[in-house]
Amino acid sequence: MRKAAQNVVLLAAGGTLLWITLAGREYLNYVRPGFRIPLIATGAVLCALGGLGIATTWRRTATATSDRRVDEHDHDHGPRATWLLFLPPLVIAVIAPSGLGSFTAERAVDQAPRPQAGSALAALSADGPARISLTEFTARAFQAKAGHDTLTGRQVILTGFARPAGRNRWMLIRLRMTCCAADAVPMRVVIKGTPVPPTGTWVRVSGTWSPLWASIDDIAFPQLTATVLERIARPADPYE
């Protein structure tokens, strides 16, 4: 690959990184919020390398004749694989990935990770209903099962998307991401006591923990008896 094309590849990749981090919050579909700064820095470095390359070309042509060849520039035509760096910008632009959702959640077989033993969670904050993640709710449910109950009598608010699981109950799902979307695993809580929302709808549920575990396809899920169900817009960060 010639240098002129390399410059365009660098600018396309760097510019796309800056686009998904600065022009909106698209990067949240792929990685954790804390990764924004490294992404911006990387985008800036790629753009600087590509921009410097073009500036060099510009400066040379501005002062050069057209009939004499330059031999001093290296013959680094690079591997053909370099062209593939166009692919991520192209996929981001043309497919506009919307983040993972129902499709990934349906592919999960096992219940998501249960907390390690020996990390007893503190009591929920005293006043009002507690907004907690599905991961935290699941962890507290497992600890309550083991004798350390921090949930009984507490009003909690959970946010996720819905997936029907029978006539009177449904699953609230949120994908938990450790590093990037490639390692996302669904956290699932069975909800009863409200109408069943359609698949994939984003909702906010308020209710209390039910000590009975729900069994769906031979997997035990923690359960919430809901009192309030609110339809919400998909959050900018679809993961937790």
Partner: protein
């Protein structure tokens, strides 16, 4: 994407780039290479913007969206680490004097291998970063076997990874010790085996562009550019394969074999290859594989940073297919044996 003729025009323009001093002042060429390059950038940006506006609203199929998200996620997650690794590699090969490495590593290759393996415990960097760094070391004249020991150990046992492992396996410090011991064992053993049996013609030592003599910073920029473009393109291959498997292989397959103890080690080792997760993150995924034994999880943690789809692509592209065809199976076998041994002793 601009049409092929335009690209050829841009490339031709670059080739026709000329030197000082100008002979024909005032006579303008039809269109200079500089403006043409800029036109290329504008054209690409236009194609991308048009794709977003015209094509994106029609490509909403869940499987396509899932594939695209995982593919882009792996690329986006790895790029900053890759850039960091390429910077370290460029610094090693251009800014650090050659004499430093001669002094830092023992002269005898037999001793240089374990020392280089241990150095990996100090330098943070993910596995995508370690490939260009090891390539830079070889280009600097370091014994390939020592550079390979570093290549294997640095993503597996650096401080960031060990802390992540300790956090993920809270209450099980023996898992951190087992990971450290097994990974160091594999990297030193692989280095020594390569020293004893490896042949020079199998390994393509990466060359790097050199700037004018004495010009350090242009040389640094050229090396950085080269490494970024090279490893970046190969990363895309690995990410595409991993994303494809992510959305096509039925997850029930992996779960079905988890019940068989002897198989579970092999299965998690294979899963580590397929999933291609960064070593900073793999411990958190390992804890989520609750139905597998501790030794199987150890195999997942030892194999992952040393052999996975994106690394196969990166190593084959950087050191040549003949190297990859021998070194990767050897590392994979060593990692499984070391995990089984250390798992028996420590877990």
């Amino acid at each position: 994407m601009p049409s092929a003729p335009r690209w050829r025009a841009v490339e031709a323009a670059w080739e026709e780039d000329a030197e000082l001093p100008p002979a024909e002042w005032g006579r303008r060429p039809p269109m200079a290479a500089g403006p043409r390059a800029l036109l290329g950038v504008v054209a690409v940006a236009g194609v991308l913007a048009a794709g977003r506006v015209l094509a994106a609203p029609h490509l909403r199929e869940a499987r396509v969206q899932g594939w695209a998200t995982v593919f882009v996620a792996i690329c986006v997650q790895a790029l900053p680490f890759l850039a960091f690794g390429a910077t370290v590699s460029a610094a090693i090969s251009t800014l650090v004097p050659e004499a430093f490495w001669r002094r830092a590593l023992p002269r005898r290759a037999l001793l240089a291998v374990p020392v280089a393996g241990a150095v990996g415990a100090v330098l943070p960097g993910c596995e995508c970063a370690s490939v260009p760094v090891a390539g830079g070391l070889m280009a600097r004249g370091i014994t390939p076997a020592a550079a390979l020991a570093f290549l294997l150990s640095s993503p597996a046992i650096n401080p960031v990874v060990l802390v992540a492992t300790a956090v993920a396996f809270r209450g099980h410090p023996e898992m951190v010790a087992a990971r450290f011991a097994a990974s160091l064992l594999v990297s030193v053993a692989a280095g020594w085996l390569w020293l004893r049996f490896g042949r020079t013609e199998w390994l393509r030592i990466p060359s790097r562009p050199r700037a004018a003599h004495g010009a350090r910073w242009p040389g640094f920029a050229a090396a950085l550019r080269h490494d970024l473009l090279h490893t970046g393109g190969l990363l895309v291959v690995g990410a595409a394969i991993a994303a494809t498997l992510n959305v096509t292989v039925p997850p029930a397959w992996t779960v079905a074999v988890a019940g068989v103890p002897w198989l579970s080690v092999a299965v998690l080792a294979a899963l580590a290859v397929v999933m291609s997760i960064c070593s900073e993150a793999d411990a958190f995924v390992a804890t989520s594989l609750t139905q597998f034994s501790a030794t199987a999880k150890l195999a997942f943690l030892v194999v992952g940073p040393m052999v996975d789809l994106k690394l196969i692509a990166l190593q084959a592209g950087t050191f040549g297919p003949r190297f990859a065809a021998r070194f990767i199976p050897m590392t994979f076998a060593l990692a499984i044996v070391a995990s089984a041994l250390i798992g028996r002793v420590l877990l």
